[in-house]
Symmetry: C3
Subunit: 431 residues, 3 copies
């Protein structure tokens, strides 16, 4: 269990929240292999490899070619340099909760920990064990558009159509090949593209998908597509021809707008994750090469929010200093929902600042508290606990002590943002 | 009364401040009808309609065509979704303080509340009652340039020349028509415009105005006007001809600079309210359609601050994350005064952050603590109380506990920023 | 001594830190006259003159032509307007610690204080006294490129090559003259420039320099130099010919890149101080004319960080709201080190926010806690105490109370960021 809040009012709130099931509206869990069977699947999380690398560890020490045991042993030697981080605290909580391991993790005992974390023999029983220990009710996935979406319980592992490739990589032959293959359509032009994306939405919604999602670079500005202008660039892209920068721009705007239209048609929320620049640091470890440009504004999204008034846009922004603007946009636009605390903003001090502002200025029914963004089930609990602790502290300080709320009222709000709001906002569309 | 601070040192400071008169250097009060006579004038404040709309209420439920009773009844059904907000807390404080109504406000009891809030029979006696209950000493108005400025006590309700229309809407026929009518001048060109604006300043100052004010969009950059370049666009605008974007820009820069020159001549502070973009969300409720672009910098105002060294510029910035920059500019420029906490920044957690920085880095004699921005007198007290509570908490924590200040010293600073500074900065110009 | 923290756990941490020596990796100390011999050298610090000027004091009252006694007497009359600032608290701590003067400083007693602060008769013995009272171990200097670097103990006063003039003022005849004189080279072109800068690095490193440093404006974007493009502009600059804006840009990019190459060759950290715009307020007091544009992003530095992977870049950003981005860049790039809290960001509330984020998300071995930026030795202690107090409070609240750390673990982290990290990062290169 995570360190409980020191303040007794906050601790009581936290203890209550800790008894609740977890509803996790965004993750990268693999439903076929949700939990980790080797410690490398835990320590290989990019937070550890990138922080250790940032602290001096050569990227080669965690290269994909190495054996999992070697990677784990290598990384262990650098953990003491990052043991101050919140990410490290998730690791110790996992070790304690799931592996009954309470010592500081070092090069000397990493073998013991790896042995305890070896769950190959348990197979899917271990997945169930982590699921129940986490008290997990539902977790959303991130599915490639050509994911067959079969082989798991989609009421527990909810599909979500991730669309970055369609918008940002349409010109890459591989994207088109995957699209043609999964839709069985010979996509050649704008009309064909639209038809094929319709096939995807249809398949995803039938398979229980409850959201469409995309991450967008800071320079992206969604504006109404001009089909006439887009016809040629789209055809060129679909035929593997070279594109000018303005054609690339026209394509991504057009495809993005098309996706929003399908979200309207299929009544799917469209998760916008705004900010990352991919591969800023190419020599970094896998998953640890992206950053952002803080000069970003939701003003660029005004046409989108206005035009698609029936579509709910759960928005996550990447740059911590952009979050106050999100509060204002969520306060005005009915279809803008502030969602969780993402990646570089998923740090307690930033979460706390965001939470205070959202609790004071955004309708309580619109706030989606948190999502884990996890790749392995084991991370859902410690990450949610970090959030629940911060939420408990903010409610104890700002609402109970500061505004005279009762404990019940504070817990009602906590339940809204943690469970009821995401359940309602991501409800299965009525058919 | 607002919830008093939980901390006893802060509570003592707050209790003392709560006994002080209120000096409110910016509002939208109508001096002819300052207090609300129907609950709709309270619940119709854009904060409630926009937050309820953001939480799902159709804008049509509070449309201008509906009767006030209907609007109030409609809105009441949505208040439970926004009862976490600071804006809602102002409402409950008003209900308690002015209507002796302490229950949560719901669809069931809204009729009772509306009955208690019906002050038509009391007429202006109710204005006086609210004025005295608020312990209001002075409140600044926001007057259109063609306001006749007659019919009220201008030592209590201080006129303030609002100039947005002149700078941003000069090309609209209605603006020119109003200008010609109020000045009795046949304004046709730059010279005529200048003469007419001189007439406005003269009239306002004679009527007791103590500030000129304007709100400016984030892309505005005031630079020295070039009269030669401006002559033609101004003439075109004044004659209703079409304008190119660069001509619009030239006009607003020229008129703005001219206003600053008159502020210098008439020794009027020039309130700059930087940031709003109007009508970003056209389908919103009245007053709830504006937002901002957070990418704004006071660097754009350097020429203005340098050129008009004799003009005091009380500055409010709209984007909460821009406030640290304002601290730095106020720390260097003698004529830049950080003023209050505006609109989307008027949220306790943002106020607190701003206050801490201003108290640690801006000369204490330069800080204008707060203004209500209220449309009805009833809001002055709860809004000021929110500020006084936050100020009390910051002083108790940072100054008394953190730096060993005496209670007297903390209260002296509070009195400066709440009363003495605004009184001095907005003093009636010596004639 | 500074006001100790009110919280007892924080106070214990602070008291322990207060016993440690100070390692100060950036200052503007003059090694030939490190301590102040006249009070004017204390009160003349730009923080006091600029804040007093901002609060209303005419700049002429502290003009260089006046006698030091007159300047001091003049300034004293304005101190009561800025006695709320953190900068003022350094002054009172200096008065108490070094002059045994505990009264509030006013026009009436300023003569007494000046008398106590007159150390002319003690000469360099006073330097030693301040050095020891401060428990100073090492302080880094800011040396012009043509500093002869002789006449002091470079293990105590560590040279640092400041390169603003070379990058930003190469076109000024005086710069070139100084460069030719100090290198004895007839610099005429790009090759000659490179050779001459090599001579500078050689001399500085031989004299014990441990860093190269530069402050850069917000619009600077370091990208790989194109020697072919730079040849002509550089030659034109070195021959005093007029330059187009794009040529200026090419020159500063080229010289900056060249400096980074030398840092790689000589294994010197390259301190980047990002943000200031010089002379925004030309009528200000000396040293109080610079500000910034908050719209700045480290994204502009990606090519630099990628290309020079062997060079450590200790980075300070000027705009307080830019600091969360620095946390993210330091978390990903191994060679980006967040360094101290600079100038307009050197305010406790900003330091606190930065510290919380760095402690939660940046490897502990990469953080350089603080530097004094002082011009006179007397300021090192109060400035470091402000930092140590804030660090103690953050550790007590966030680490000990919030995360259950032991006092020892908290102190270990404090020692890292205050002493061990800067010592390691700025270690004398192995020869």
């Amino acid at each position: 269990m995570t360190t409980r809040p020191a303040d007794s009012a906050a601790r009581d709130l936290f203890d209550e929240m800790a008894r609740w099931p977890i509803y996790d509206p965004h993750s990268h869990i693999d439903p076929h292999r949700p939990a980790a069977r080797h410690l490398d699947e835990i320590l290989g999380y990019h937070y550890y490899t990138e922080l250790a690398h940032s602290a001096g560890m050569p990227a080669a020490l965690v290269a994909a070619e190495l054996s999992p045991d070697t990677r784990v042993a290598n990384l262990a030697g650098w953990l003491d340099r990052i043991d101050n981080t919140v990410q490290y605290s998730w690791l110790t909580e996992i070790a304690r909760t799931f592996y009954d391991f309470t010592d500081p993790i070092t090069s000397y005992n990493i073998g013991d920990l790896a042995a305890k974390a070896d769950k190959h023999s348990q197979g899917s029983a271990w997945d169930d064990r982590v699921w129940h220990a986490t008290n997990l009710e539902t977790v959303f996935l991130t599915n490639d558009f050509d994911d067959p979406l079969t082989g798991w319980d989609t009421t527990k592992f909810v599909p979500c159509l991730r669309t970055d490739d369609l918008v940002l990589k349409l010109h890459q032959p591989k994207t088109l090949e995957r699209l043609r293959k999964t839709t069985n359509l010979d996509v050649q032009d704008l009309e064909g593209l639209k038809k094929s994306i319709g096939v995807l939405f249809d398949r995803f919604v039938k398979a229980g998908a409850r959201a469409c999602a995309i991450s967008l670079p800071p320079d992206f500005s969604p504006t109404p597509a001009n089909p006439k202008l887009a016809v040629t660039p789209i055809r060129r892209a679909l035929n593997g021809l070279d594109l000018r920068p303005d054609e690339h721009e026209e394509i991504r705007r057009t495809v993005f707008w098309m996706l929003a239209e399908f979200c309207a048609d299929y009544k799917l929320p469209f998760d916008l994750m705004i900010g990352p620049i991919r591969d800023i640091y190419p020599a970094g470890v896998s998953g640890g090469r992206d950053l952002f440009d803080r000069r970003v504004s939701l003003r660029e999204y005004r046409d989108l929010f206005n035009h698609f008034s029936s579509v709910t846009f759960p928005v996550s922004t990447l740059s911590p200093d952009a979050s106050a603007e999100l509060v204002a946009y969520a306060w005005i636009f009915p279809n803008v929902v502030p969602m969780g605390h993402w990646w570089y903003s998923n740090v307690p001090t930033f979460i706390r600042a965001d939470l205070e502002a959202r609790l004071q200025a955004v309708p309580k029914t619109k706030q989606v508290g948190y999502y884990s963004d996890a790749y392995k089930l084991e991370f859902v609990l410690p990450k949610f606990n970090t959030f629940r602790k911060t939420l408990a502290e903010v409610l104890a300080e700002d609402a109970i002590k500061g505004r005279g709320w009762s404990v019940e009222r504070a817990l009602e709000l906590a339940r809204l943002v943690l469970i009821e709001n995401p359940k309602r906002i991501f409800a299965r569309p009525a058919s």
